[in-house]
Structures are given as C-alpha cells and as structure tokens.
C-alpha cells in the first residue's frame, strides 16, 4: 500500500497536507500525534470513507477509486470509533455482517466457520446470543473487532481501537493484532493515543502534527526523546526496561 501526496482541506483549513508514506505489509503501523493532527482523517481517506482532495492511494497497485467497492471490502476493512447503535442485534449477528462482502447476507458454512473463529479469537462465544445494546463499552468494541476479523481482509485499519477497553483487554487486543500481523501476514494500521502501546506493539510508527508528516520509521527510530518532545510539546522521558522503550510523561 502506498500513499502519495494526499491532501484534504475543510474550507481554508488544511487538515492533511501533502502526505506520502508507504505502508509496510505484514506489519503493525501506528499513527501517533496530538489531537487534530489529521491521523483519523488520513485513515478515513485511506479507507475511502472520506474523499481526498489531491493525491493518490494505491492498494496492490490500483488506486482506491479504481477498485470495485465489493472487492475492496474483501481487501481492506476499517473500524472507526463507533457510537452506540440503537439496533436490535445479537453479537453473532453483528459479527456476521463482516461476511457481507462475501455472502451478501446468505451465510454459507464457510461464513459460519469464519464467524465462529472470530468470536473465539475475541472470547465472545459466551455472549454471542446477547443483544448488543446490553453490552458494556469494551464488550461492544470487541464485538466490532470480531466483525472486522470475520471480514478477513489483508489490510485492517483501526481508529483508536483501544477506546473503552481496560488495560487487560487493551493488551490482549494489541497481542491479537500482533498475531494477525505475524501469523496471518495481515497489514494492520492503527490510530492510537497511548504512545506506550505504540512503543510496545507497533513495528512502524508514523507521527503526524498539524496535518503534516512529522516523523516516520521503525518504532525504535521514532520513540526518541527529541522527536516526541517536539511532537507533543511536552517533556517526555524515554526509558528502556527489559529491552522495551517506555515513555513517561506524567510530570
């Protein structure tokens, strides 16, 4: 996947300016940066939820616009920060929607297997018959991620997937993404606010600020005091514990 000179403005304000980055296949790439940096907007453009003003985004050599909608849905999935749904739907039915690009609502045995697999992956089997409006925020978030898994795409984009999750489920989620990347060769792109999660689990980091590309590279290259200090305009200590980098920013 390649992003070339992509921009987006709302009126006078440029929210994403001329960004070009390749996304590494089979790895976890984290978008970090302060609020309003344009991370979510870029992710939305990468996943065709938002039209871009200029530039091009290529997936497997073809521009996003040139893809057939339904084919692209088998290639790429996006999960945005979701607000609650006023829908009568069980967890299993929600996850089953992930198979829509393949089966158009008529589930085959293969679809059922994928759904079961996704439910198991996120430990949702026990509550699969529960209505989604009875779930807690974290459970609902996991159900949505199970749906994305059931969609079984090569590229998985997630906008702040750790929202509403407690630490334990957050870690579990990041480990899940890692397994997806390492074992199944999926390309995972996440917008994330907690830089420690990015530092611990991401392979690549793209830092954005004011709609511009601020820094990019491997996690070790980007998680550096001088880069982070300027990115967030605060005093951040970067320490190494057991060979992993950690950022301390409570001061």
């Amino acid at each position: 996947m390649d992003i070339q000179k992509v921009s987006k403005s709302y009126g006078e304000k440029m929210v994403v300016g001329n960004i070009s980055i390749p996304i590494k296949k089979g790895a976890i790439t984290a978008f970090i940066g302060p609020n309003g940096a344009g991370k979510s907007t870029l992710l939305s453009m990468m996943s065709r939820l938002l039209p871009k003003d200029t530039g091009a985004i290529y997936i497997d050599g073809n521009e996003v616009k040139a893809w057939k909608q339904n084919e692209l849905a088998k290639k790429l999935s996006i999960l945005k920060q979701s607000n609650g749904l006023n829908l009568k739907l069980t967890v299993r039915e929600l996850v089953a929607f992930g198979r829509f690009p393949y089966s158009k609502g008529r589930l085959t045995q293969q679809d059922q297997d994928k759904i079961q697999e996704a439910l198991a992956y996120l430990e949702l089997e026990e509550m699969s018959a529960q209505m989604i409006d009875t779930l807690s925020g974290g459970q609902l978030q996991r159900a949505y991620i199970a749906m994305v898994l059931a969609q079984d795409t090569e590229y998985i984009f997630l906008d702040e997937p750790l929202n509403n999750l407690d630490m334990s489920h957050g870690v579990q989620m990041m480990k899940t993404f890692r397994r997806l990347a390492k074992e199944l060769g999926k390309t995972v792109v996440i917008v994330i606010h907690d830089i420690n999660f990015a530092a611990s689990y991401a392979d690549e980091i793209v830092a954005m600020k004011d709609g511009q590309l601020f820094a990019k590279g491997t996690t070790e290259e980007v998680i550096q005091k001088d880069i982070l200090d300027r990115l967030y305009e605060m005093d951040i200590r970067v320490v190494t514990v057991d060979g992993k980098q950690f950022c301390l920013y409570f001061n």
């Binding site: 939820l49 084919e71 039915e93 929600l94 829509f100 690009p101």
Partner: protein
C-alpha cells in the same frame, strides 16, 4: 428472535387485518352487495396500498437517515404534489387535459417528485462531506415554500375552481381518488421489484454509513434508489388520500417495537400489515363510532403526534 416468532406475529397481524376487512365490508351492508362491494372494495384497496407505501417509505427513510423520529414528509415531496396540482389548475383552468386526465396528471406528478428527490440528493452530495441534515433542512424549507405558494394561489383562484380543486385534486380519506387505483397498484408493484434487491443493503445501512462502505455497499447508489422509491411511494399515497404526516412514522416505530429486528424484509412486511390495520381499523372507528364527525387523518395525526412526543421525551431521557 427465531423465524417462528416472526411468523407467529405475522399470522396474528394478518388475522386481525382480515377480521377488520371482513367487518368493514359487511357492517351495515343490508344485503346490497352489488352496490356496496365495489364501492367499499375500492376504498379498501386504497387503504391497503397507502398502508404499505407509507410504512415502507418511512422505514427506508429512517434507515437512510439513521434517525427513527423522522418521516419522509420532511423532504417536502407531498407539498410539491399539492403545489403542482394547484398550479395546473391556476394556470390552465379546470377544463385542461392535465386536470381532467387523472392518469396523465398522476404520471407527471410522479416524475416531478422523482426529479425533486434527485435534486435533493444532488444538494446533499455536492456539499463536502455528507450533510444529511443539510438535505433535511433544504427539504423542510422547500416544503414550506411549496405550501405557501400553493396557499397563495388557492386564495387567488376563482371560488368555483377552488371547489373543483378541493374535491378532485386533493384527496382525503373521505374522498379517495379511486380512479388512480389501478395505475397506483402497477407502479407500486414495479417499484417493489426495483427495491427488493436493495433489502440486504438496507440491513447493512442500519449499521451506519461508514460501516456500510466498509462492507462494500455502494452507499450513493442505494441512497438514490431509496430516495426515488420514497418519491414514488409518497406520490401514490398523496394522490390517493392526500398528504399524511405521521402515519409512516407511527407504523414504522410500532413495527420496531413489535419485531425487534434489523432485518428490513421482516420490518417491511410487519409495518405494512400494521399500516393497513391502522387505516382499515381507524376508518371503521371513524365511520361507525364517531359517525364521520371526525376524519381519519385527524385521528391519525392525533395518535401519531402523541406517540411522536412520547418518543422524543424517551430519547431525551435516554441521552441525559
């Protein structure tokens, strides 16, 4: 919920509807079958058709807008119909082909309303992003404008012509335009065939626009098709029984309560049955209990309005 449960509810609703239909056709008939059956039968057919079209267009519109307290009449399409009818009478007089030939008049109205819905769509998507609320606002403003224009012309019209307008062009539940029944049924059937393949996309759309795009639904295409369908169905209902404000909203919400599902096939059938029951049953009550001292539209607006306020209050409480 299992399919059996839906089937059971369908059966209950169907039996209820058939009972009401039987009552409607036979009450106080005094054995004058030859006279009563065609007369009441036509009226009944109109009720069934309107019940179905209002239910289906309301549910589609609510899924499209992700909002369960909206009704398609917010788009102002029914006001456009009224304006069109008033204008042709105002400009050409009651003897004109456009006024006399009901079918021609109806077809032109349908085309006009479809064009208007396409215009609304263009407004919605020309603006950056997808400003649904902008669309609704434009629809509301245009609707008010059309109504005011129509009222203005009605004031200027010759009183005799106005009388003609009242009785012929503006249908109401007591003055159903049965001359349009056949053509309405045909158009309705064709539209249903056209919209049936979209049912599965409607189910996905109820997850929201972003999710629908993610799952490979061509949201623009589905939106255009649905808006066209809403225009046609609004035209049918308005031509047969006049503008309806709350009927669609009312039956859609009752259907959500009764069926508790996201599956639009079930919601469409259920809401249509409920819509038909509301119209046939309501009409029975108006004719036999109130002895026509009130009209069905008044009763429907009253019940629908109260339900609307209850829902509004409930939503507010839920979010607070």
């Amino acid at each position: 919920m299992s399919n059996q449960k839906y089937t059971r509810k369908f059966i209950v609703l169907t039996v209820l509807l058939l009972g009401l239909i039987a009552a409607y056709l036979t009450i106080e008939s005094n054995g004058n079958w030859a006279f009563i059956l065609p007369l009441r039968g036509k009226k009944l057919a109109a009720f069934l058709l309107v019940g179905m079209t209002s239910a289906i267009s309301a549910i589609s519109f609510q899924t499209l807008t992700q909002n369960r307290i909206l009704t398609p009449s917010i788009l102002g399409l029914d006001s456009l119909y009224v304006l069109f009818q008033t204008s042709i009478l105002f400009l050409f007089g009651s003897g004109h082909q456009l006024v006399v030939n009901r079918e021609l008049n109806f077809l032109i109205s349908v085309v006009l309303m479809m064009l208007a819905s396409l215009f609304l769509y263009a407004v919605m998507f020309k603006k950056r992003g997808h400003h649904l609320y902008f669309l609704l606002l434009v629809g509301m403003v245009m609707g008010t404008f059309f109504r005011s224009m129509a009222t203005f012309m009605q004031v200027l019209i010759d009183p005799n012509e106005f009388d003609h307008l009242q009785s012929k062009l503006f249908a109401s539940f007591n003055n159903i335009d049965t001359s349009l029944l056949v053509i309405s049924c045909v158009i309705c059937f064709v539209t249903l065939l056209f919209i049936l393949p979209e049912l599965k996309y409607l189910n996905v759309l109820s997850l929201g626009r972003d999710q629908a795009i993610n799952l490979g639904v061509d949201v623009s295409k589905v939106t255009i098709k649905l808006l066209l369908m809403i225009a046609v169905f609004t035209a049918i209902a308005t031509a047969l029984v006049g503008p309806l404000l709350f009927l669609g909203f009312l039956v859609a919400n009752i259907a959500y309560q009764v069926f508790q599902t996201y599956r639009h096939g079930i919601l469409f059938i259920g809401a249509s049955l409920i819509g038909m029951i509301a119209l046939v049953g309501g009409n029975l009550i108006v004719e036999k209990v109130f002895h026509l001292e009130t009209t069905l539209s008044v009763v429907l607006e009253f019940v629908g309005g109260i339900y609307f306020i209850i829902l509004l209050l409930k939503e507010r409480k839920g979010e607070a």
